[in-house]
Structures are given as structure tokens and as C-alpha cells.
């Protein structure tokens, strides 16, 4: 039914992302483990590189999958067909969310699996739960971008416009945060707060790699990520076709 339709709309992109995810993970791990550095340091840096690469890739997936939501039904004039099916708006919104969430988890899982397998094999070190938690910010960022794009698609009644607006948010929001911080020394909450360190910190201090992501921002942005589809549902329940 609708789950199948959601999958049908994204499976080509999903397979492309999956191919990129596996190839990227395998390539990065292979290249890093070929260096002459001590296995422990190699392991940590390679792992964190995998975390950042997966964050970037999944964010792209989140933004592009978010554009395929109900907003597109309005743009293609199929909303009256879909919304006269005997299901609540909540069903449509959260089924789409679930279908996409499973794909994001599969993408993350595949990168972790490939990366962890190569690293364990080359460095002879186990991947701990603590290290796996490093993927949480990237995953939440993906859900956040998916939710924002989905919501903007609903508000525009057009998935493509939602996608473009979401790209705008991704570009403008960090600039606003940095400007406010630089000029007025006020720290605005940003999804970047979820990460315990940046890429540059990692290169200078690889021992920090096993630090846990920041719990507060992680929970806060998770709630924002969940609020987006919920707001989209409320908007749709008040939208006329």
C-alpha cells in the first residue's frame, strides 16, 4: 500500500546511496589501514572519518528523500486520489517517515558493517558500543534534514520547492549561527553541537575519538527531528485539497 509506494519512489536513490555508502566505506578503510601508522591510531582516525563520511552522505539522502513526501502529491495533483483513501493523515505521514527511516538505518548499518569489518580485519581491534554511538549525531542529522524537507514540501505543497528551501536552510542557518556567535558572542543551538569534536580536533587529538556525542543536544535535536513530521501532519490535517 502506501509503504510500498514510498519505497517505490525512493528505491532507485536508495540503491545509489547504498552503492556509494559501501564503496566509500570500503575505500576509506582500505586507504587508511594501508598507512604505516600504529594500528590503534589508524583505527580511531579511520573510524571517525567513516562517521563524518556517513553523516555527509546520509544528510544528502535525508534531504533528497524528504522531497518525495505528500508535498509532491499536491504538485502532481494526485493528492485528491491519495487523501480519499480510507486512512488518516497521520497514517500517511508516519508511514512515509517509517519507510524512509528504515532506509536511513540500512544505509548507516551498511557503512558500519563494511567499515567495522575492514578495520577489525586490518587493525585486529574490536568495534565497541561506545564507538558505534559516534554515528548517532549523523543519523539524527539525517532525520532532522528529512523532517525539515518533508515539512517544507508540505508547506509549499511541492516537494521540489521543499528540497530547495531545505537546502537554503542548510546553507543559511550555520551562517546565522556563526555570525551571531562572532558579533554578539551568543551561542545559538545548532545541530553541530551534537558532535563531541570537529574533524580538525580529531586530527590534532585522535585520542578524543572515543568521546561520546553530547547527550543534551542529541536529545534536543532528536525532538526537533520528530517535531517536523508531526507539524507536517497538523498542517496537512488543516489543508484543503
Amino acid at each position: 500500500m502506501y509503504f510500498w509506494k514510498c519505497w517505490r519512489e525512493t528505491y532507485v536513490s536508495f540503491y545509489v546511496f547504498l552503492f556509494i555508502a559501501i564503496t566509500l566505506a570500503a575505500f576509506l578503510m582500505r586507504v587508511f589501514t594501508m598507512s604505516g601508522a600504529p594500528p590503534k591510531e589508524t583505527f580511531v582516525v579511520a573510524w571517525m572519518l567513516l562517521v563524518f563520511a556517513s553523516s555527509t552522505l546520509l544528510s544528502l539522502a535525508g534531504i533528497s528523500f524528504g522531497a518525495t513526501g505528500i508535498g509532491e502529491e499536491f504538485a502532481h495533483k494526485t493528492a485528491s486520489f491519495l487523501l480519499t483513501k480510507p486512512r488518516s493523515i497521520r497514517y500517511f505521514v508516519w508511514t512515509a517517515w517509517t519507510a524512509n527511516a528504515l532506509q536511513f538505518l540500512a544505509l548507516t548499518g551498511s557503512m558500519v558493517l563494511v567499515g567495522a569489518s575492514i578495520l577489525s580485519w586490518r587493525c585486529h581491534m574490536p568495534v565497541t558500543g561506545r564507538l558505534l554511538l559516534a554515528f548517532a549525531p549523523g543519523l539524527i542529522m539525517t532525520f532532522l534534514l528529512f523532517g525539515v524537507t518533508y515539512l517544507l514540501g508540505v508547506l509549499h505543497k511541492n516537494g521540489r520547492n521543499g528540497f530547495l528551501s531545505s537546502l537554503g536552510v542548510v546553507i543559511v542557518f550555520p551562517i546565522i549561527c556563526l555570525t551571531v556567535e562572532y558579533r554578539w558572542h551568543i551561542h545559538l543551538p545548532s545541530p553541530a553541537d551534537m558532535y563531541s569534536m570537529g574533524m580538525s580536533d580529531l586530527i590534532l587529538h585522535p585520542e578524543l575519538a572515543s568521546n561520546l556525542p553530547h547527550f543534551g543536544p542529541l536529545v534536543g535535536w532528536s525532538l526537533v527531528a520528530l517535531a517536523c513530521p508531526f507539524i507536517a501532519q497538523l498542517v496537512l490535517e488543516r489543508t484543503e485539497v
Binding site: 500500500m1 502506501y2 510500498w4 509506494k5 517505490r8 502532481h76 495533483k77 494526485t78 485528491s80 486520489f81 487523501l83 480519499t84 483513501k85 480510507p86 486512512r87 488518516s88 484543503e240 485539497v241
Partner: protein, 293 residues
């Protein structure tokens, strides 16, 4: 259980101060075929959308199959099939895939009906929807609606883009198959011949106002066209005389109620009544619209 499939009370919709539907009271008996007639922009589609919960009424209420259209939308949609005015569907899906998509939503879905109507309408089930002709796209909508096993079919301009042969097939299906199951059909159209052919009830809507609603036979027996010759005959409209056409000494009166009495009165005024004719639905519709304007 309510005897009415659709029952609206002062149902109205206003968009930014413009009245699209102005307080209509529809009563569609269960098991009937009801033709909802009106010109383009008369308010037919908005009314239908309010019945299906796609548009919220500004005032008034609607009950569909005994349920409130606002609060029991999902329950209504479970038993109601709909063909939209805009016959757009997922362009990359084939009719076969659209059937697969729709099937799971309806417990009373019939796969044998899919086979039957796909064959009858000669729908290429494995061709992408976007590649189908306009006529075939309309047929896919009808197929999806007819296979749901619905208690109520709401069809908004169901024969758009269909060739005369297919219109004939569709009309036959609507007239024969659906009532056999006790299904109510509510269809909007401005093709008066279609309505006249299959409908038992008709409602005329214009500028968002329901001009008339009755059994089709009653509507037809209600109105007469009286042609009379004479000089200085009355040329004013009244509650009985809905319109008058005057051409030299010939008068054509569009009369409701007691046409014979009115003709007798004309004769007493020295007129020669040449005919008292029954009217077809087209003439009645045109005269009613004219009167309103």
C-alpha cells in the same frame, strides 16, 4: 440506518469572500442514481470535496452514509469510491500497479471486478499511466472506483475525455452493475443526456445555489412549454411562469405547475394556444439557469 446516502444541511463554502457553495440542502436516497447538474464553476466539485472531507465547509454540515463528513472522514472513505474531476494518477505506475496500490485500502476490493472491467474497458494494464490516452486514464479511475465494493460512488465528471462508445459502456455499467449491489451513485456532470439516461434523481446547481432537486420524472412532469399566438399577451414572469420568449405575436411560456390552467387563462385573453409541450432535461436546465440569471 439513515434512508439517505447523502444529506447536507445549509452546506456552504466561501473562499476569500467569494461564495463557491451557498448553503445547499442535498438529499440523495440510498440505492439511487443521482445526477448533480451544473455549469462549469457552479459549485459541483466543491460540494463533492466537502462530502469527502477534502474541503472544510464554512458553514453547514454533511452526512454521508449516515456519518458526519467532518468527524468520520475515514469511515466514510472506507465505503465510498471517488472519481476525481482531474483524472491525474501516479504517472510512473501502470494500471496494474495502481490496482496493487489501491487494493489494500479496501476490505471489499474485488479482483474479479478488476478483470471484468479491465477487459470491458480494454485498459492496457501494463502501460505506464502517463503513456495512456486521456480516455484510458479516465477508464483507470473508473476501474479503481468500481472494484472497491463501495456503498456509494461519487463521480465528478466521470465521462470526461471518453469516446461515445465508452461513454455508453460506462453508463450501462453504472446503470446496471452498481444498483444491483444496492450501491448509490452520485455523479456530477454537465452532459445532460447522460443524466437523463441513467439518473432517477437530479439536482441543479448554479452559482453555488441548489436551484432544484427532485425525482427526474417529477422534474419533467413539472415543467411545460406553452406556445401561444396573440397580441398583447402577458410577458411577465411570476412564480408560475419562469420565463417568456416573445417573437412578434408568438409567445413561448416556460411554465411550472398547472400548465393547463395557465393555457386556459391565455385562451380566455384571446390567445390561440398552439401547443403545450413536455420538456427534456436540457430545456428545463437551460430555462432554470436563465431564470436565475
Amino acid at each position: 440506518m439513515s434512508e439517505l446516502a447523502i444529506d447536507t444541511t445549509d452546506l456552504a463554502k466561501t473562499y476569500a469572500g467569494v461564495r463557491a457553495v451557498g448553503g445547499i440542502n442535498l438529499t440523495v436516497p440510498r440505492g439511487s442514481i443521482y445526477g448533480f447538474l451544473g455549469r462549469n464553476g457552479a459549485g459541483k466539485t466543491t460540494t463533492i470535496k466537502m462530502l469527502l472531507g477534502l474541503v472544510r465547509p464554512t458553514t453547514g454540515s454533511a452526512r454521508v452514509l449516515g456519518m458526519d463528513a467532518r468527524s468520520e472522514r475515514v469511515a466514510i472513505l472506507q465505503r465510498t469510491a471517488f472519481v476525481s474531476e482531474k483524472k491525474t494518477l501516479y504517472s510512473s505506475m501502470t494500471p496494474f500497479e495502481l490496482v496493487r496500490f489501491s487494493r489494500g485500502f479496501y476490505p471489499a476490493w474485488s479482483d474479479s471486478a478488476v478483470e471484468k472491467y479491465a477487459r470491458l474497458f480494454e485498459i492496457p494494464m501494463k502501460q505506464r499511466f502517463e503513456r495512456l490516452s486521456n480516455g484510458n486514464q479516465t477508464k483507470v479511475w473508473l476501474l479503481l472506483a468500481l472494484c472497491q465494493g463501495a456503498d456509494l460512488l461519487i463521480l465528478d465528471e466521470p465521462t470526461t475525455a471518453l469516446d461515445p462508445i465508452t461513454v455508453d459502456q460506462v453508463m450501462r455499467v453504472l446503470a446496471e452493475d452498481a444498483p444491483e449491489r444496492g450501491c448509490t451513485i452520485f455523479f456530477s456532470s454537465h452532459q445532460l443526456e447522460e443524466v437523463e439516461r441513467i439518473a432517477e434523481y437530479a439536482g441543479f446547481i448554479d452559482h453555488g445555489k441548489l436551484l432544484m432537486e427532485a425525482r427526474l420524472d417529477d422534474i419533467k412532469s413539472e415543467f411545460r412549454l406553452i406556445t401561444a399566438a396573440g397580441s398583447s399577451l402577458p410577458a411577465q414572469t411570476s412564480s408560475q411562469v419562469l420565463s417568456v420568449d416573445v417573437e412578434q405575436d408568438f409567445y413561448r411560456y416556460f411554465v411550472t405547475r398547472d400548465a393547463e390552467g395557465f393555457a386556459a387563462a391565455l385562451s380566455r385573453n384571446g390567445a390561440t394556444v398552439t401547443s403545450i409541450a413536455n420538456l427534456g432535461l436540457r430545456e428545463i436546465f437551460l430555462q432554470l439557469i436563465r431564470k436565475e440569471r
